[in-house]
Point group: C2
Chain length 225, copies 2
Amino acid sequence: MPVPPRAIVLLSGGLDSATAAAIGRSEGFDLYALTVAYGQRHGCEIESARAVARALGVVRHVELQVDLSAFGGSALTDAIEVPKDRDLEASDIPSTYVPARNTVFLALALAWAETLGAQDIYIGVNALDYSGYPDCRPEFVEAFERLAGLATKAGVEGARLRIHAPLMRMTKAEIIRRGLALGVDYGLTHSCYDPDASGRPCGHCDSCLLRAKGFAEAGVRDPVF
Amino acid sequence: MPVPPRAIVLLSGGLDSATAAAIGRSEGFDLYALTVAYGQRHGCEIESARAVARALGVVRHVELQVDLSAFGGSALTDAIEVPKDRDLEASDIPSTYVPARNTVFLALALAWAETLGAQDIYIGVNALDYSGYPDCRPEFVEAFERLAGLATKAGVEGARLRIHAPLMRMTKAEIIRRGLALGVDYGLTHSCYDPDASGRPCGHCDSCLLRAKGFAEAGVRDPVF
């Protein structure tokens, strides 16, 4: 039996990355999950990432500390208030944006991919039901893929490095339906930017609002509530 | 008097990054120095980075821990032997290559730049007297600059993010002459990949050989020896 190819999957503990990982597995990859602890206030994400990694049967799960709060500048890492009940159609980039976060995450995933000899990276970014972050758009993912080919020994030697963003054009409801079809247990995931001390979601931040909208449109009950 | 613009400079503690930083300062920037402790065996680099940052009068120096040795795969982070007295004209990529290192460094610098409102990043990569690493070539730096414009709020809003690699086309001797003209104290820098316990350079790794060649060609005594 041939050995399955390896893929790195960026696993935050949220709904999107759990689904992207399940898609990667369904596409025939052995999964190597990377969770970056970047100083986020919602640290219970990390525990969810562990539970999701276990449920997915990943080969290895690396948790890497990278304290982006040393730079400051985001409601997710600083003492800035997380906005509540925001208009999700608003075109501005909200204060929850973490500068260059997905660039940092993909760079770290690329480092691991090259070490493992993997040519595939999965990331759960989405350009439809999202908060308007610049590093969630298809042109960003394409530019990173191009960079990856130039940045690495494998790329120089002719390998094609691929950044898979399978959720890019899906609505939140489509993501949830796809994940359920692949057996994702969304009860293990955590989405809220501003949970209480016991990890209970606030229900009012962008991430809670998008999640609620997705489950409502999918016609499914969110197991977390 | 107008406030000088800000630039992030990646400062390793080595000769090249100290020179790139001095060039950035001479080009009118207030410097914000970023040193990444990535699990390198030659930890005395970090102490050199501190001394260089002080000597340059940087506004702030951030040391960030990012343990790339969690991924393995390089003689600089693992128990793999550092090659000695290697032919510097050889075309292969040596075992001291750290997968995707400069991609990770630039991603972190970009995160800080965006937080500070800086549009300029200095990196001391060099494509002449170097070890053949893929992420030291001009096409890599150009691809990262393109990515930076797409990855960030500033880029989306029309700012031009610039990755400055002022040493790209310089020989090691030219770098040293330029640095000396700008007042760089190379006695503070550390280049060796495999120093002894007291921090003394081995004299035989790629980095020591390139440094020795540079000082010899510049006709200057290396203050470290």
